[in-house]
């Protein structure tokens, strides 16, 4: 098995959990948004019907993805845009770099896009001498700090106001600055406004692209999305191939599902929908980069395919008890939380040991599935991927896998459960073997893997009689 360069979830989760400040910030954020979400979702008596329509639309897209992509290519071209196809990150970064170089640009403004984080676009551009300025307040904070986003919706949620104040003071050369969010936002406004006005090239992601009309949507709050998609002469939009919807009418479904699930608002402040280019209004050159980068691998798996329905709302993060404790960084991916736990391993493949650890980063509580606006059955996919991980390990793991204690235990127990006599013998063995660990009627220390259990929990010893022994005696 190839070693991924990044640690597994379980290797670093503990470190993040121990960071009390981080846990407080994340806990506060997730609780606030999830409570608010509950209220705005309850307002709609047709929420379940909207979710079902959303699911069906996305399923239809996935089942016909090539056709819709070709339709989109045609409609965007007809509306004055240029469509590019990128099979992987390298492809996409090269296309974008060349487009910017054609414009002789050295600075571009960017509106928050996880897709561009996924392909590490900023780094690729930096290597070519192009500076991509993040304009979303949280992304700017993360960029100035040389940090990584930790939440899909609120990427800098791990930082508090005092930290942001210090960061802005030093990086934006400000002598006086309070730690009031309004003042911090104002500082960002002034700094970014200059850059918006002079930017020649803007880069965005896209929330939706309508195959029928070629219309692309950016959903946002601060107005930086409008700035980036309106002010520059050239706009480059990077779009995961799964972001398609068939027709304009479908927007009415997703524009009800997304804001309420994401920012927990009836509608977020700004949504921009543009169709190719418009003479005299906004960028006169529009490039749409369609990105695969592993998405067709996800499509290739019938159970996993539903992962591509995701509209990046982050509702699953906010209800996830695991995410709430660890925050986003423990996932070592731009896609954290439950959706990341199923998307990342499918995008990166199971040879990546960090990604392969993610399907296990869940207690399978199912809260994510309950809130998902497009009804992605995340627990189902998690279990499906765990099975794929095990099969992959059996195939590739060699001797290490064969001697892995969990693997051995699973094989042993499966054998024991397959026959009554073996099962009953195992029960007796358990009862006989526990004398060594039993003290004062409880077990407080177990060896090997089980020591992780007894680190914080006692174990009730196996009683004198199993239920079946009692039953037999009773009859």
């Amino acid at each position: 098995m190839k070693k991924g360069s990044q640690p597994t979830f379980e290797e670093t989760a503990g470190t993040y959990i121990e960071n009390a400040q981080l846990r407080r910030n994340i806990g506060h954020a997730t609780k606030t948004i999830r409570d608010k979400r509950q209220l705005v979702v309850q307002e709609l008596d047709d929420w379940e019907e909207l979710r079902e329509a959303g699911r069906q639309i996305k399923q239809k897209v996935m089942n016909n993805l090539d056709r819709y992509l070709l339709q989109l290519e045609k409609s965007v071209s007809k509306a004055g845009g240029v469509v590019h196809w990128a099979a992987d990150a390298e492809d996409a970064n090269r296309i974008i770099t060349n487009l910017i170089k054609e414009k002789k640009g050295t600075d571009v403004v960017k509106v928050k896009s996880i897709t561009t984080d996924e392909i590490r676009l900023n780094q690729a551009l930096e290597n070519e001498g192009i500076h991509a300025l993040e304009t979303d307040l949280a992304e700017l904070i993360v960029q100035l700090a040389g940090d990584e986003p930790s939440h899909i919706l609120v990427p800098a949620i791990h930082k508090n106001r005092a930290e942001i104040r210090e960061l802005f003071k030093s990086k934006l050369n400000l002598k006086e600055l309070s730690d009031e969010p309004a003042d911090l936002a104002e500082a960002a406004r002034l700094y970014l406004r200059k850059n918006f006005l002079k930017a020649k090239v803007g880069i965005s992601g896209g929330n939706f692209a309508v195959a029928e009309t070629g219309t692309v949507a950016v959903v946002e709050s601060e107005g930086n999305g409008r700035m980036c998609t309106t002010l520059p002469d050239t706009l480059i939009t990077v779009l995961g191939i799964e972001k398609i919807v068939p027709e304009w009418k479908d927007i009415e479904v997703f524009m009800q599902l997304l804001p309420r699930s994401s920012t927990a608002e009836r509608m977020n402040p700004y949504n921009t929908f543009w169709t190719g280019t418009t003479e005299g209004d906004g960028p006169q050159k529009f490039h749409l980069v369609l990105l695969d980068n592993g998405r067709t691998n996800v499509l290739d798996d019938e159970t996993g395919r539903q992962t591509l329905h995701c509209i990046r709302c982050s509702a699953c993060l906010n209800v996830c008890p695991v995410y709430e404790r660890t925050g986003g960084h423990a996932y070592h991916s731009v896609y954290p939380g439950p959706i990341g736990a199923i998307l990342t391993p499918q995008l990166r493949g199971l040879d990546d040991r960090s990604a392969a650890s993610l399907p296990y980063a869940s207690s399978l509580c199912g809260a994510c599935y309950e809130v998902c606006p497009v009804k992605i059955n995340i627990p189902e996919v998690l279990l499906h991927l765990r099975n794929k991980v095990v099969l992959h390990q059996k195939k590739e793991g060699g001797f290490r896998q064969k001697t892995d204690p969990v693997h051995l235990a699973m094989k042993f127990l499966a054998r024991a459960f397959s026959k009554r006599s073996r099962y009953e013998r195992l029960q007796k063995m358990g009862r006989a073997g526990q004398w060594f660990y039993k003290k004062d009627g409880t077990i407080s220390k177990l060896p090997g893997q089980l020591s992780k259990w007894t680190a914080i929990r006692d174990v009730k010893p196996v009683p004198e009689k199993t239920f079946r022994e009692w039953w037999r005696d009773r009859k």
């Binding site: 506060h28 047709d46 019907e49 079902e52 329509a53 639309i57 239809k60 089942n63 090539d66 819709y68 992509l69 590019h84 196809w85 099979a87 307040l137 904070i141 990427p155 508090n160 106001r161 942001i164 911090l184 936002a185 960002a188 406004r189 406004r193 918006f196 006005l197 009309t213 219309t215 709050s221 601060e222 107005g223 409008r226 700035m227 068939p246 304009w248 009418k249 479908d250 009415e252 479904v253 524009m255 920012t263 608002e265 009836r266 509608m267 977020n268 402040p269 700004y270 921009t272 929908f273 543009w274 169709t275 190719g276 418009t278 005299g280 209004d281 906004g282 695969d292 067709t296 290739d300």
Partner: protein, 219 residues
Amino acid sequence: MSSSRDKILQRIDQALGNRTDSTDDVVERRYHQISELTAQEKVNLFQERVDEYKAATERVSEGELPGKLKKLCEEAGIKKLVLPPGIDENWLSELPKSMTFLHDEPQPLSKTQLNESDAVLTNCFLGVAQTGTIILNAGPGQGRRVLTLLPDIHICVIRQDQIVGILPEAIRKLDQTVSESGAPVTFISGPSATSDIELDRVEGVHGPRKLHVFIISES
């Protein structure tokens, strides 16, 4: 065409395997398509919801609008007002001559001019009551997208009969804009805002920091 294009299309075809044509599959749209609110309920709800975004709203009659606009400009210290092509000149009748009116035609205004202006006055295409959303589609009286983006205050006038109940009704009315003219569409729900710092909501980031909505309703 690029080889990436072929590669992606081929991968998709492989992934989907044998399939029957299903682009015709009908999506079950059992959600509400039409609002059951009366005209009066719609306008009331619209105002309530826009207010909740910390925008300012005022109900006026057609005749009251010029006076109210004058008062707003005085109070907010608006001296340079951006005007899109096709704006109703009657609305401006009481504004003092000392104000500077920045017309976007015949010569389009520069980014600098817009950035240095105080406010922009527009009408809109639609309003959505349920979400408190104003919808622009670059029509007469709205103009280019940038006009409502750089000025610090956006004053928007909506007529009561432009307010629909729920989003699906608005999407239908936008059909022509999107499919035929291809004009850009902007949804505006309150002033720009961020909750990026400790989830404390701050109104006014990059877009206009203030949104003032006049609702023309004859009652």
